[in-house]
């Protein structure tokens, strides 16, 4: 187990380097620059701005300088919002996205896993059809439809929750429900599929034949293999959740990270794009490692191989 962790950390360094390099050159070759605007800037001012941000240097020098700064943990100032450091922007937005992501994940897991398990156990009964139909409905309603619907029902009509903003706990409910329900639908379906698969495995059949109760079978045996697809799905999905969602953030006016991912690319805010990408990559690497560890723990068989 320790070996796995150590080797993954060692792999993370070249992985991040590849990501940084690709992203650096991709953003630079995309048409348009950070200072393009409808009111075109006079050429001499553009030259000044480019010198100010070091864009007048040869690209390779800029790249090397960026890597040097990166090694020192310096992501540079944002091009679009030059009064802020990239790291400062990420540091203010991440707690918001983390809160929203964790709450949504709770909603998703607390609804999705039980629903999927019940459906698998009571297969082809109404206890299967009902939760599965609901989960399909969840997938049919993208967040940009569900969000406004929830706001209309719970905020505009009933006045229970604030319609937007991120100022106190009561603001957390609607966005985390919207995002959570969407993921719950995915999780319910994946859980059911995984459970059905394992419920037919020989060791589960044996347990059943021995007269173990369904809950015991479920929790002791079937859940282990059955949750694999959900677990694998959750790695990148959770990284996605806590790094923010552009749609949810713009519907609910939440100052999270998701917005930066999208607007930084649109603004050609080079440093911000790199900063967010590297941040997200780190999350992906960490979470995929966690998933692999959990998988090994849930499923001792796959560990044998090491």
């Amino acid at each position: 187990m320790t070996r796995l962790i150590v080797s993954r950390i060692l792999q993370a360094v070249p992985t991040l380097w590849v990501i940084a390099t690709l992203t650096f050159f991709m953003t630079r070759y995309a048409p348009g620059g950070p200072f393009d605007a409808e009111r075109a800037i006079p050429e001499e001012i553009k030259v000044k701005l480019e010198r100010h941000f070091g864009l007048d240097q040869p690209l390779l020098d800029q790249y090397i300088l960026y890597l040097q700064n990166l090694l020192r943990g310096d992501l540079g100032p944002s091009f679009k919002y030059p009064e802020w450091e990239v790291s400062e922007l990420i540091a203010t937005a991440f707690p918001v996205s983390l809160t929203l992501g964790v709450l949504s994940l709770l909603v998703a897991l607390l609804i999705g896993i039980p629903a999927g398990m019940i459906a698998a156990l009571r297969r082809n009964s109404w206890m299967d059809y009902l939760p599965m139909s609901l989960s399909m409905a969840g997938i049919c309603l993208p967040t940009f439809v569900l969000g406004p619907l929830l706001i209309f029902a719970l905020s505009t009509k009933l006045g229970v929750f604030p319609p937007l903003g991120w100022y106190g706990p009561s603001d957390w409910v609607l966005p985390s429900l919207t995002l959570g329900l969407f993921y719950a639908a995915y999780i319910a379906r994946l859980t059911r599929a995984g459970m059905l698969e394992t419920l037919q495995q020989d060791y589960v059949r044996t347990a059943r034949a021995k007269g173990a109760s369904s809950w015991r079978i479920l929790s002791r045996h079937a859940a282990r293999g059955g949750l694999l697809p959900v677990l694998t799905f959750m790695g990148p999905a959770f990284a996605g959740l806590i790094s923010g969602s552009f749609v949810i953030e713009s519907i609910f006016f939440i100052p999270g990270l998701g917005k930066f991912f999208v607007t930084a690319a649109f603004n050609r805010d080079y440093t911000m794009v790199l900063g967010t990408v590297l941040f997200y990559a780190t999350l992906i690497i960490i979470l995929n490692l966690l998933v692999d560890l959990l998988q090994a723990w849930l499923d001792p068989k796959s560990r044998k191989e090491k």
Partner: protein
């Protein structure tokens, strides 16, 4: 290992979830809305539309920045809330020389920065020097070019000492500005944020004289001379200002504070307004107008706005290198119908490029709707070229619901009248900008918002060597007429020259004006002292909140 049994026990989880939800419901219940509490607090909740890029007046570029900076800073003159005519600001009074080139401002003695320092004429000279400093790279530096020799200093031809820029502090409270040419709208110009003063010790403390992006604009650091003080700035969330007690006219200021919310999504902003979160929105989606007009007839406001929506032709490539085709495309558009049926937001059809009434100038309408002539013109072109029909024309626009709708509507009109196949190409903003700037388009969407209330802010775009032109069109008569308008001190002569420019645009069709903008906004009836103005400026010191009369 802990038994996982409990983990998967659904009723336990269900209960947990119910408790958790109930807690939230309790927490959330029965809070009064922002708009309700604001009557007591006198806090204005303002939909800002987007996050300002920069709060440094010399580096700022956006409308959002203007909305904040006009609360934090004050220029030499201030604006009348209804007409935007100049009123005393930092300057108590001013005198203008006979030839209209020398302005002498008397600064008030009680003018103070928010830290108590006096506001002096030297502050203005320092600010103008910083704005024009070539090393700062201020995007709006050319706004100060009306000052004598400002251009040669800014372009690095001469140093400050040698350039003798026309800004001089005669003493602490007397400032003399000398202009290159007489400019009738010079005083109005001073309300653009690029003319606002900055506090020298603060700039120097943060070493921001030549630096883009420093901490001096953060709350706690920002020293201003306007009616409000910056107290909080959370990016993409809120910018808060509160009343500045050091402001010379603090007794007029009735609001205790303003909260600006940079809500970018129009639908979200509308929801925020309708649930009492905002007093006013920055914009309203065109497709919602009809619905809102029914629901909130007294709160939906159509305000004139100094801007023109138009398309650029590319004159460097066929078929628009031929004037007949451009004219045919223009004549085939029923602008009235576009405005009435598609936009429906109270916009007016653009039959000239300069919006009528800009600074008092009334251009003669020249762009007409005449489908028959359009067909004839295109026919004559096709015959000459020996073609049956035009190859498909690409119409480039940046992705947005509004632009798409206009493009689709025109697609229909051109197809009906001219039988031309139009291919719509939408692009992401920066790709669009670089495509148009490189001239890689046939027909491209554009828009222009005036910086000051004078036809010049529109007509200077089509000068042959102007970077904003981008159509490939140039006309010496046009350039000459524009130059004559620039140096003239007589209104009649200026209007005449501007009309010459307008006529040329309508004869040679480098562009296709479509409609004049309207500023559409939702505004709560409790907001008082707020008037529609052409530049969408609303001096906050006159704004207050009060219950509607008779209710």
């Amino acid at each position: 290992m802990q038994s996982p049994k409990d983990l998967f026990f659904p009723t336990f989880l269900l209960r947990l979830f119910l408790i958790w939800t109930c807690l939230w419901v309790l927490l959330a219940c029965s809070q009064p809305t922002n708009v309700e509490t604001a009557l007591e607090e006198q806090i204005l909740h303002f939909g800002l539309g987007s996050e300002p890029q920069n709060l440094d007046p010399h580096l700022a570029t956006s409308v959002a920045a203007h909305n904040i900076l006009s609360a934090l800073l004050e220029g030499l003159v201030s604006e009348d809330p209804k007409t935007l005519k100049p009123k005393p600001g930092v300057a108590q009074s001013w005198a203008i020389s006979e030839d209209g080139k020398i302005y002498t401002f008397k600064l008030r003695k009680n003018g103070q920065w928010s830290n108590g320092d006096p506001v002096t004429a030297h502050d203005f000279v320092y600010s103008f020097r910083r704005m024009l400093n070539p090393n700062l790279g201020a995007q709006y530096a050319s706004m100060l070019y009306p000052l004598k020799n400002a251009k040669s200093f800014h372009q690095g031809v001469k140093s400050w000492e040698h350039a003798k820029v026309g800004a001089k502090a005669l003493d602490d409270h007397t400032l003399r500005l000398t202009l290159e040419n007489p400019i009738p709208y010079f005083l109005e110009l001073l309300n653009h944020f690029s003319w606002f003063p900055v506090h020298q010790p603060t700039i120097e403390h943060f070493e921001a004289y030549e630096k883009i992006g420093s901490a001096w604009t953060k709350p706690g650091n920002f020293v201003g001379n306007g009616p409000f003080l910056l107290t909080n700035h959370r990016i993409n969330s809120v910018i808060e200002v509160k009343k500045n007690q050091h402001y010379w006219d603090a007794k007029t200021v009735r609001l205790n504070g303003i909260r600006f919310y940079p809500i970018e999504a129009v639908y979200t902003e509308e929801r925020a307004y309708r649930s009492g979160f905002l007093h006013l929105t920055q914009s309203v989606s065109a497709d919602r107008i009809e619905f809102l007009r029914k629901k909130h007839p007294d709160e939906l406001h159509y305000e004139p706005y100094l801007g023109t929506y138009f398309y650029r032709f590319n004159l460097k490539a066929p078929p628009f290198d031929d004037q007949r085709v451009r004219e045919a495309f223009s004549l085939a558009i029923d602008r009235q119908r576009l405005v009435d049926k598609v936009l429906k937001g109270g916009q007016s059809p653009a039959t000239s490029f300069t919006p009528p009434g800009t600074g008092g100038f009334m251009p003669v309408s020249k762009f007409r709707y005449d489908p028959e002539s359009a067909k004839a013109l295109l026919h004559s072109y096709l015959q000459e070229k020996g073609m049956d029909r035009l190859p498909p024309i690409e119409l480039t626009y940046n992705t947005s619901e509004g632009h798409k709708k206009v493009a689709e509507a025109l697609h229909g009109m051109w197809k009906n009248v001219l039988g031309v196949e139009i291919r719509l190409l939408n692009m992401e903003w920066k790709v669009f900008l670089s495509t148009v700037a490189k001239g890689e388009f046939t027909l491209a969407r554009a828009g222009w918002i005036g910086d000051y209330i004078d036809p010049h802010t529109f007509l200077h775009m089509w000068r042959t060597d102007e970077g904003l032109n981008m159509t490939g069109w140039g006309n010496q008569t046009y350039d000459e007429a524009l130059r004559r308008a620039e140096i003239s001190n007589s209104e009649q002569e200026r209007w005449q020259n501007f009309q010459t420019c307008e006529n040329l645009l309508a004869e040679e069709f480098p562009i296709l004006p479509l409609y004049f903008y309207v500023h559409l906004t939702l505004r709560h009836p409790t907001v008082k002292g707020w008037y529609p103005t052409l530049l969408d400026h609303h001096p906050y010191k006159y704004v207050y909140l009060a219950k509607e009369e008779g209710r």
